[in-house]
């Protein structure tokens, strides 16, 4: 029995969980997807620099707040995953609720921003800037919405009693990986799309 247990331990230290591997592969492919969207936006900005002046519309304060909120949600997500590894279901629920709340704030800010832009006559059809901007940030927003839905499902599932704290740790970790990915995509968008516009003569 001892030999079998030792063998199982050495085996588990070598193998990679299938769910985690699949999620990392998916995130790698999603990187390519977002890479293309961001590249398209930046290239059209370079080709048609005078088509639109976004600094008149962008609110850096609002976007920085959104970025801060998303970063803090990532922090809470890391705590939720950690709590699950420790088998602390209550802590997991508390942190997950925090992530959901912060995610909803981020989405609220994005909806407000889009509504403001549309009110100022920047739509998908207005120009290349509008097309690529809405496509890129909208796709990111959809990812955030999917992440929130996933976490809400996980939160309610944790109340059914079917969730075993240790066995479900991998499931929570996979959801966490997805959420952190949404965060790192926004880190790139925040710098490449928003902040760069405010640098003079770039």
């Amino acid at each position: 029995m001892s030999n079998t247990a030792d063998h199982a331990d050495s085996h588990s230290s070598l193998v990679v969980d299938n769910k985690k591997l699949l999620m990392w592969l998916f995130l790698g492919s999603d990187c390519m997807f977002f890479g293309t969207l961001i590249s398209t936006h930046l290239i059209y900005r370079k080709l048609y620099p005078d088509s639109f002046e976004p600094t008149t519309l962008f609110s850096l304060e609002l976007t920085s707040f959104s970025t801060f909120i998303l970063l803090m949600s990532s922090f809470l997500m890391a705590l939720a995953v950690s709590a699950m590894h420790k088998g602390q279901l209550k802590s997991f629920r508390r942190n997950t609720l925090g992530v959901i709340f912060f995610g909803l704030i981020f989405l609220g800010c994005q909806v407000y921003e889009f509504a403001h832009f549309v009110h100022e006559d920047l739509t998908l059809q207005t120009n290349t800037f509008g097309s690529t901007f809405y496509m890129m940030t909208g796709t990111h927003g959809v990812h955030v919405a999917i992440g929130i839905f996933w976490l809400i499902c996980m939160y309610f599932y944790s109340h059914t009693g079917k969730m075993d704290a240790h066995e479900s740790a991998v499931d929570v970790e996979v959801a966490g990986l997805y959420w952190h990915f949404v965060d790192i995509v926004w880190i790139v968008i925040f710098t490449a799309v928003y902040l760069v516009e405010f640098i003079p003569e770039i």
């Binding site: 990679v16 985690k20 591997l21 990392w24 592969l25 995130l27 790698g28 492919s29 999603d30 990187c31 390519m32 977002f34 890479g35 293309t36 961001i38 590249s39 398209t40 930046l42 290239i43 370079k46 080709l47 850096l60 304060e61 920085s64 970025t67 801060f68 970063l71 803090m72 990532s74 922090f75 997500m77 890391a78 705590l79 995953v81 950690s82 590894h85 420790k86 970790e173 966490g176 990986l177 952190h180 990915f181 965060d183 790192i184 880190i187 790139v188 925040f190 710098t191 490449a192 902040l195 760069v196 405010f198 640098i199 003079p200 003569e201 770039i202």
Partner: protein, 119 residues
């Protein structure tokens, strides 16, 4: 019982991950504070009248740091297997390559604007 008394490994195995998670907690708090501070610095930086190239370089460096920090610590990549880094790194490399290639291919000197306008 004798097996447990003779072999303290089960206890060590139980407390090990807990200690590790406690250590991670402090790392997460420090990282969250650093990320918040960097976001604040980025916001202030674009309003400071430094040379544009300097500002752009610092912004890219800070953004890269945030990007790598979240992947390494929040996403546990430094604690995980190398295979996972390779799985994600491949996608990242292709995405970066696509960005660089498109940047060169679609530079204003390479694009026929009249043809686009006619289309």
């Amino acid at each position: 019982m004798a097996h447990i008394e003779e072999n303290p490994l089960p206890v060590a195995a139980d407390t090990g991950p807990l200690n590790s998670e406690t250590a991670k907690y402090h790392t997460f708090v420090n990282l969250a504070l650093a990320l918040a501070a960097i976001t604040g610095v980025e916001l202030v930086l674009v309003y400071i009248p430094f040379h544009p190239v300097f500002i752009l370089s610092v912004l890219l460096a800070l953004s890269l740091f945030k990007f790598i920090a979240v992947i390494a610590w929040f996403m546990h990549l430094i604690y995980d297997k190398l295979l996972l880094t390779l799985a994600f790194g491949t996608g990242m490399a292709i995405a970066t390559g696509t960005f660089v290639a498109l940047g060169f291919l679609m530079s204003p000197s390479n694009v026929d604007f009249e043809a686009i306008t006619q289309f």
